[in-house]
């Protein structure tokens, strides 16, 4: 019985483990370590440089008493809901339209997708320019004679976040459309046939049969959209820098500004910890359900 003993578990699949070192390092050192570091220092009064000078929850009290933070949160919610709803709806509608065996599908798809190739900086610039009240759409319409025409979303505090969303949607829906299109193509053709034989109108088929079947696609899409929403920064900076006033501030920008502009790392870390916390509450249970379980076929 040369080898009846169970060999050590550590060395089974050793290569796989070795190959996963970058991932493990990234996960543990960068994501977990970085996060823990951030959380730890959010309890300090670190200014320009991180210092372990604990001040308890002071940074958090201050954070939640800061109007700008509250506005940022509110904006993020508005922006999040708009992005989610509209990119899903528009993305799906476009995908559904493209899925009708139309001519020039490639052309249309490319047109819808190309903005995704552009950076947020570029997107922000272009839309800032298009929405510029003097040169952009408003100016042009006015110069055509409709002088009372008012379309000035980037310079109007109450709607500026919607103005920013226009650009975000322009940039992002193409990818969503692609994901949806891929999902639609993955649906068993027989389902369509069955619905046609049953005499179910197209829109009802989509609404009651196809969409519920596309759950995995929607999940992937949701991950992509949601991670983008939480991180929104460049777009705001490029379009409005948070203005007018602080009307279009977002949490990521608050974090950045307080860490680097205000040189108050503690405050920035507290803000980012709050962001992380809210993300975790939503994501972790879901991620475990979705990816942590056994391998699905």
């Amino acid at each position: 019985m040369s080898k009846s003993e169970r060999p050590s578990q550590l060395f089974r699949n050793l290569n796989a483990k070795v190959a996963s070192i970058p991932m493990i390092l990234t996960a543990m050192v960068v994501f977990v370590g970085g996060t823990a570091w951030t959380v730890l220092y959010s309890f300090t009064n670190s200014k320009l440089l991180p210092r372990l000078n604990f001040v308890g929850l002071d940074q958090y009290y201050r954070l939640w008493a800061t109007p700008r933070w509250l506005i940022s949160i509110e904006n993020l919610l508005i922006y999040g809901v708009i992005s989610l709803v509209f990119s899903l709806v528009i993305g799906f509608l476009l995908a559904a339209l493209l899925d009708q065996k139309i001519r020039f599908e490639d052309t249309f798809r490319t047109i819808f997708l190309y903005p995704f190739a552009l950076s947020f900086i570029v997107t922000g610039l272009v839309w800032q320019w298009l929405l510029n009240p003097d040169f952009g759409v408003q100016g042009v319409v006015r110069s055509l004679g409709w002088t009372s025409f008012d379309f000035n979303p980037l310079y109007n505090s109450s709607i500026v976040i919607y103005g920013i969303s226009i650009a975000a949607l322009w940039q992002g829906t193409g990818l969503i459309m692609c994901l949806m299109l891929a999902g639609l193509r993955g649906i068993d053709e027989d389902i369509w046939k069955a619905a046609r034989v049953d005499g179910i109108p197209m829109w009802k088929t989509y609404l009651f049969i196809i969409i519920p079947m596309m759950r995995p696609v929607f999940i992937t899409t949701l991950v992509i959209i949601a991670s983008g929403i939480v991180k929104v920064y460049d777009l705001v900076v490029a379009q409005t820098s948070g203005g007018p006033g602080i009307a279009s501030e977002v949490p990521a920008k608050y974090v950045y500004d307080y860490m680097f502009f205000a040189q108050n790392l503690g405050q920035g870390f507290a803000a980012s910890t709050m962001m992380l916390l809210s993300v975790m509450i939503v994501i972790v249970p879901w991620a475990y359900l979705e990816f942590g379980g056994r391998k699905r076929v």
């Binding site: 505090s157 007018p244 006033g245 602080i246 040189q263 108050n264």
Partner: protein, 388 residues
Amino acid sequence: TDLEVTHWWTSGGEAAAVAELAKAFDATGNHWVDGAIAGSGGTARPIMISRITGGDPMGATQFNHGRQAEELVQAGLMRDLTDVATKGKWTEVVRPKSLLDSCTIDGKIYCVPVNIHSWQWLWLSNAAFEKAGVPVPKNWNEYVAAAPALEKAGIVPLAVGGQAWQASGAFDVLLAAVGGTDTFLKVYKDKDAKFAAGPEVAKVFKAADDARKMAKNTNVQDWNQATNMVITGKAGGQIMGDWAQGEFQVAGKTAGKDYTCLPGLGLNEVIATGGDAFYFPLLKDADKAKAQEVLAETLLDPKTQVAFNLKKGSLPVRGDVDLNAANDCMKKGLAILAKGAVIPWTDQLLSQDSQKQKEDLFSEFFAKPDMSLEEAQKRFADIIASAD
């Protein structure tokens, strides 16, 4: 030796001024590697700090002198320039002395001030007032009175760019001008929150409210775009530091003829001694360290000072230079400086943190017409109370 210098001077006038520094430095046989980062100090500083703390420091970097680099110095990341300063007798030539004080920590000198910037200027477009049919005002109060006429002529009375620091700066200027020097110091130096909530400051807020109303149609972001509105007569005036002067100059405008400058808004003629300074991170490479010394010396060289400040529109940090070439406005500034009517600026008095909070407040205040004065003042007092 190549020395990389980072800074955020990228507008027309600023770039021209930096070119002077580079020219002077290159003339010493070294090479100025330009590391300009556009988008104001806010964008540039985190990059600079990251690089210094990340262990890949540049040869020299711009900061607003004051408290921005304090911690870097305390962390021992910055080079002590005391020996260079002693050799160049900086304590004697630099004027006003408070400038060098800002560079001094624990008795050691860590930075080279290169210019004096004062915020306290009101820039007025002569053409705009002509068009509105009112005389060019001589002080803030007249200006406020003229606003309706300007508006009627389709001119934005006051240009305030969308960036937060502009709104905040404008308020500080009003505080020093409308409130007076003592009020200014009581609030920012003594951090007297009770006072900041009091009637003296309320007056300033009233003035700020006027400014807010006058500025409501500005629709530009950058300060130099706002300046450009004044240059082109689209706006009546702008509260902006002396660096705006550079833009007028680049646009080929003549002080007194095309535009008018009112230091201290014509109410309280003082100059705040804020400004830019260069810091030198500690480098391992001996050659570079040597080049740093050369650069530090070059920056304070009288000839460089003149060339640089003429282009930049700011005032030199030495009293012993010849500034005949200076224009009208600059001369006004020099005169005030000579009188010793100087105050420290917020960069020196407040931490960046408090500054940022203040910026947030005033940026909101200027963008939100329905924000009440009482609320704004209360929040202002709160910031002062917690300021450090």
